[in-house]
Point group: C2
Amino acid sequence: MNKLQLSGERFEARYRIAAAHIEEAAERAEAICLEQTVEFPRALIGSPAILEGIVGRVVSLSAGTEGCYDAVIAYPWEAAGGELTQLLNVLFGNVSIQTGVRLSDFTLSPTLAARYRGPRLGIDGLRALTGVDDRPLLCTALKPMGLTSRELADLAYRLALGGIDLIKDDHGLSDQPFCPFEERVGLCAQAVERANRETGGRALYLPNVTAPHRAVEARARLARDAGAGGLLFCPGLAGLDTMRTLADDDSIALPILAHPAFQGSFAVSPHAGLSQRVLYGRLNRIAGADATIFPSYGGRFAYSPADCREIVIGATDSMGAVAPIFPVPAGGMRLSRIAELIAFYGRDCIVLIGGDLHSGHDDLQTNCARFRRLATDAAAALPTSDKSALAETARTHQT
Amino acid sequence: MNKLQLSGERFEARYRIAAAHIEEAAERAEAICLEQTVEFPRALIGSPAILEGIVGRVVSLSAGTEGCYDAVIAYPWEAAGGELTQLLNVLFGNVSIQTGVRLSDFTLSPTLAARYRGPRLGIDGLRALTGVDDRPLLCTALKPMGLTSRELADLAYRLALGGIDLIKDDHGLSDQPFCPFEERVGLCAQAVERANRETGGRALYLPNVTAPHRAVEARARLARDAGAGGLLFCPGLAGLDTMRTLADDDSIALPILAHPAFQGSFAVSPHAGLSQRVLYGRLNRIAGADATIFPSYGGRFAYSPADCREIVIGATDSMGAVAPIFPVPAGGMRLSRIAELIAFYGRDCIVLIGGDLHSGHDDLQTNCARFRRLATDAAAALPTSDKSALAETARTHQT
């Protein structure tokens, strides 16, 4: 091609910029327009076609809260092209190294949106697969690390008998010598299958396929062949586009649960990095996760209810043809909080309880049964139209 | 395997913990020991073998600066196993979601160290390849985005004629419609080759192979077949283990220049995320980069000279069999600062100048020649024993 030809179609990113006054914010926004595209001083760009067509364009700039300004910048879709890696790069590549600027949201233009299939199942598909339509799904993890494959399989069996819907590997189980992937996945998948035969249930086992570059796809296929019902994946460890690859592969065709290991630093500062909405919601969604695990307020991590509402928005609001996905509040949740959590998150969530299922005077299966009863009761107590209750609340809380 | 068997060999991570007093720091350190391994309450772990063998162990805890404490935690090598993805997970997976704790450094135990080949060339190998042994290497980027492949190739030709050692794609060039990868790489590699024939030089062209999961390896092979002299890769966009895969592949066998796009958020807060030493140094090094681009003090980004010293330590200090790699100060460097930069970084760095090569009254080749002359002169002005001068200075500044 001998001449720059662009369609004129642009997609939009919203940045929150810390600045002393609007002129400073405008200057920073203009700098972002250059930094994220040409990375070149405006005055040195000889080509009007590049200046007009490639450089980001400030669409709006308005005062937000806490001395911040919200800048919406429009980029030509061609700058991102057809690749998720490059889309991330245009949205936040170099700007990630700066402070005082945060990617708070983004939307895809039609051509870009058509490149992302999003989740294979999403909320509706995962409900259909598990046969649970009237309450939140129940999830737990196989742990602690150090159990042998046989011990993990025994645990999986009892959890499935107890009525847990999604039984996932702890995200710390990979292919260690004490529970090699193939052995563990085979035994755990069989164990959950056996429990399902006994209960008539449809519990899913989701092994962790976070792995080295060349091993990921093979492990996902191995998991599918062994009878796994889904996959656990940590995009922060093994790449967002790798997750997308698994999601888009029709020969694998399993639901994906995204885990935030090694991603938290992106959302650690209110004035840098990614918003929770983008990190846990938008990005996982376009990269094909069907559910997104995040640290809920009130657990071992420091998120607020407002942060969690933002995550729910990113996971469930309208995003063109990309289906909504399940928010999965986690990170030290307890049985004693089930009613409160479901009152907060509504019916369309997956509640993940780990260690607490193993505590107290009762045995594991009794605790599982209690988990299920508590969730069912809490869901029944919700107003009938609750489906969008949190999303509505959340929208009124948008920052 | 029916019983947990561990070697007792452990590797160590150092965390900087913000706490009001040492008891609070000790409590947080103990919590990290659990969070990063079993992710399970200590009291609920029935197995003494897991408590003794798997859970992290606080090796030391001491008061640091600014109300922080330094905790060294030892993990069994088996928890990380043979995989870089899982090593990252043990070092900082869940803790990344917390504030007030930063991974400041880590060392590998012998078994782990043996799994990481590190850079293929490192500083010495890249010097041998380029034939430059007496001064810093000179690097620049092909930009701005929006130029056609032919225009980029023409630019590459003139940069190579001008005496630039490493001519890399801008990290924003992927496979966009206006400069498709295959076309661009073919033309640019030929252009640099032609310039080398004319000058007798050994300039290298390094195309950007940051790409979707299934495209990365194919692009790297295509680049090699087209005559590229190295690869540019953004591990933050496409995965650290993907970079390691490229580095370890003897059929590709090209040096790798790591670019920090989308990684900056990891090092944005002094009380969370990764230290600059870990992010730009250690991790890129075990993942096989031969040189690490970072935003130097005094440019468009906010790093201090102390931050940059930390990066040099992470890139160059002793790390077992893993060779030292080139620090590549970048991010708005100017020709007027060459002498100062080389006085600071010493001979063993690669200086990356982008836009400034295109500014001023002189043409591009004249600016390139000036860049080379300035670097040669600045290196000649260094004390003969400067090789380790910065590293020494840096060590005395360790925090």
